[in-house]
Amino acid sequence: MAAWPGEEIEERASDIAVAADVLLRRQAAWRHRRVETLRVLSHEEVRRQVSVDFTVPEEYRDLLCLSDAGEHAVPLGVLHKRPLVHFDLRDEEQRALPLLTADQGRAISRELLYQVLDGDLAGADADPEAVTLAAGPLIEAVLADDERRLEDRISELERDHGLARLDEFRAMAGLLSRSFVVWAVVVDIDRRRVLKFALDQRYTQRGGLTFYDTPGCTEAWSYHVEIDVPADVRARTTTLSDNATGAVLASGDRDADRPALYFSADAAQTYASPGLVVDYGAERWRFLAPAAIVAAVIALVVLPPWVFADLHTLAGRAGPAIGLVLSTSAVFSALVLRTDEHPMLRLMLVRYRLCLVACTIAALFAAAALGFQARDWVIEVTWAVAAVVAAGSAGILMYAAMRAPSVRSRPAAELP
């Protein structure tokens, strides 16, 4: 009688684990290229698309076979055990591919843990039979996501059997207690394949620099990463680095609208916390330069009369006319303050928009005081405030506009 799908994997899990045990220790040998595309959906969400280009060596193909239908299990990566948002797995022709279920993945992980434990026991004086049997409940706890006292329980195992530190078993048990292997079910692995998975990731944009975790940068012979930067935003600098040491692994073009980086990891080198550091900047002519011009005009209309003119006399003779002139600044500001743009750009510009709003409101109050022929001290105070706010805002906006990236701007300062 033919086996049910769940039974087939039980029979084949140990063979799949054998292949995975060898392949995942030498990922650069069979994964040719890994390409990550980071698409900024908003200031709270990024879509990460990963494509893995690989060739399974011939001697491992039969071991990875899942069924008589020619299906094979291929490990594409490791993901933390938590709900995935908008997860998608596709082949070269954009056809959706299945994944092994959690139970099927657990069956392979169990065999993988015994494989790694056996490797740690090679050369040890301990009785491998006793240790393997004693490790059984520990391995089941790992598979049941029970990471409580995991380190202590492994220490107990080492102590009870007089073992040296089981470094590789510790690392694998720690990983598999919190994460799962993404096993793609692929029919044809007799040739080079490119599989793609994608998922959304939520985050909180807090200002200038953005750090994208990239633990997969060492999991193929070469690693390519590119950022799909929102319209009217530029990546001033893009650097792949190790957060733990500050080492720069690769740098992208400056002031780029789609920066791309290439990296090939040294097999002997480890990186504790690799990530992509991006310094975003708003494009100069999208808002900053027009806003700086409007603020400068307002400052020029308010500041000289406050310093040189007799405002009290003007209030009696030309107050309404001057009020009308100043009020027109609100119209120009409204044109510049439109917000039909990418949410991330909107967040980046919010401080500068507030500057322009403050400048405009201050000018309107000054105009109103003059137009309504308010008391002398009211005119004096509102014009003083308007002059200071307009001059300050114009200065801030002009400085920001000058520093902002644009097509014609010079490259940004290089990161160390």
Partner: protein, 60 residues
Amino acid sequence: MRLSLFPNESPEPLKGVRERASVVPTPERAWPRLRPRTLADALAARDRHRRIRANGAQPS
């Protein structure tokens, strides 16, 4: 949220930059660095622990 009105002009050191930046985490985890192993060794290991577990599962 950092409210600096003046964009940072000088390059920042990259060590520990993650703590100062907006972090976009990933559910992906890196595979631990393990010693390379041959297929023959892995097959022998499979046979060993299979045999041990089969024997251990039998009632004494």
